[in-house]
Amino acid sequence: MSLTRSQIVRSLSARSPWLYRINAGSCNGCDVELATTACIPRYDVERLGCQYCGSPKHADIVLITGPMTVRVKDKVLRLYEEIPDPKVTVAVGICPISGGVFRESYAVCGAMDQFLPIDVNVPGCPPRPQAILEGVAKAIAVWKERL
């Protein structure tokens, strides 16, 4: 029984989705928690096979923080389109989910899922690192289905 090249790639990439982080006007609270989950050995998101990458072209799972502010809206949408399909989007913190405390502000466009397809929500202000890990684990489950 021989596996085709795409099947091999698929089975391997299911084990190692790469993370990419978009800050859509976040206060940096959630970004600090994302850095904590990635950089501190205590929480170590790399045990799930994930790794943060610097280019949207390498990304599989997108973590979005912050409410969609008017100023970054076009940039976020452009960045999002650069990420190859299939991709899984995770909204980290209450801001991208609903607008959070910035909801109904003149500078905020609204909930993120009006502009981008969101798959997993992790509420919190900010969510604790374990909650982010839980969200990433949920996103990996979605990612495996999409491949």
Partner: protein, 164 residues
């Protein structure tokens, strides 16, 4: 030889990585997570709605009574509602497992209904007062409390003045 000491210590204590999500994790005492609402104790003073930073709490008048609604997806878990609640009807639990798929976005709510009662004295519609002892100073006996609970706001004042 310092590295040998560190090596021995690491072998003895094991890895410092939290086993979550493959194993159990710790939850610090007093962590503010999912909100629990106890309609039994609520008097609909709406203080929580007033102090809610994220605008997560909403009270609305319906024919059945006053409805309480809290949406976790815009709650900052600041705990002000619990701090200001005079009857301890609202409580932040230590449950932080809130990650969910986007299809459940609007299902992350805490609901409550404060039913309307008819005042036994004048027949006006009112909201039943909570049976929580912290709300009472005046009527002392159980019978008086029960009578007090089935009055409207105006009749309660009269009751406290001893006019009823």
């Amino acid at each position: 030889m310092n590295f040998l000491k560190i090596l021995a210590r690491n072998l003895a204590l094991g890895p410092s990585t939290d086993p979550f999500p493959f194993g159990e994790t710790f939850t610090p005492k007093g962590l503010r997570g999912r909100v629990e609402f106890d309609a039994e104790n609520c008097t609909a003073c709406r203080y929580c709605e007033q102090v809610c930073i994220g605008g997560a709490i909403r009270f609305s008048k319906t024919p059945e009574g006053m409805r309480f609604l809290l949406w976790h997806n815009t709650c900052t878990f600041c705990g002000l509602c619990e701090f200001y609640c005079p009857t301890h009807a609202i409580h932040l639990t230590e449950d932080w497992h809130l990650a969910h798929g986007n299809e459940d976005k609007y299902a992350m709510v805490e609901n409550g209904l404060l039913p309307t009662i008819v005042c036994t004295q004048c027949g006006a519609e009112a909201i039943a007062i909570a049976p929580n002892p912290t709300a009472f100073k005046e009527p002392a006996t159980e019978g008086q409390k029960e009578q007090y609970r089935h009055l409207c706001a105006r009749c309660r004042r009269k009751f406290l003045q001893g006019a009823l």
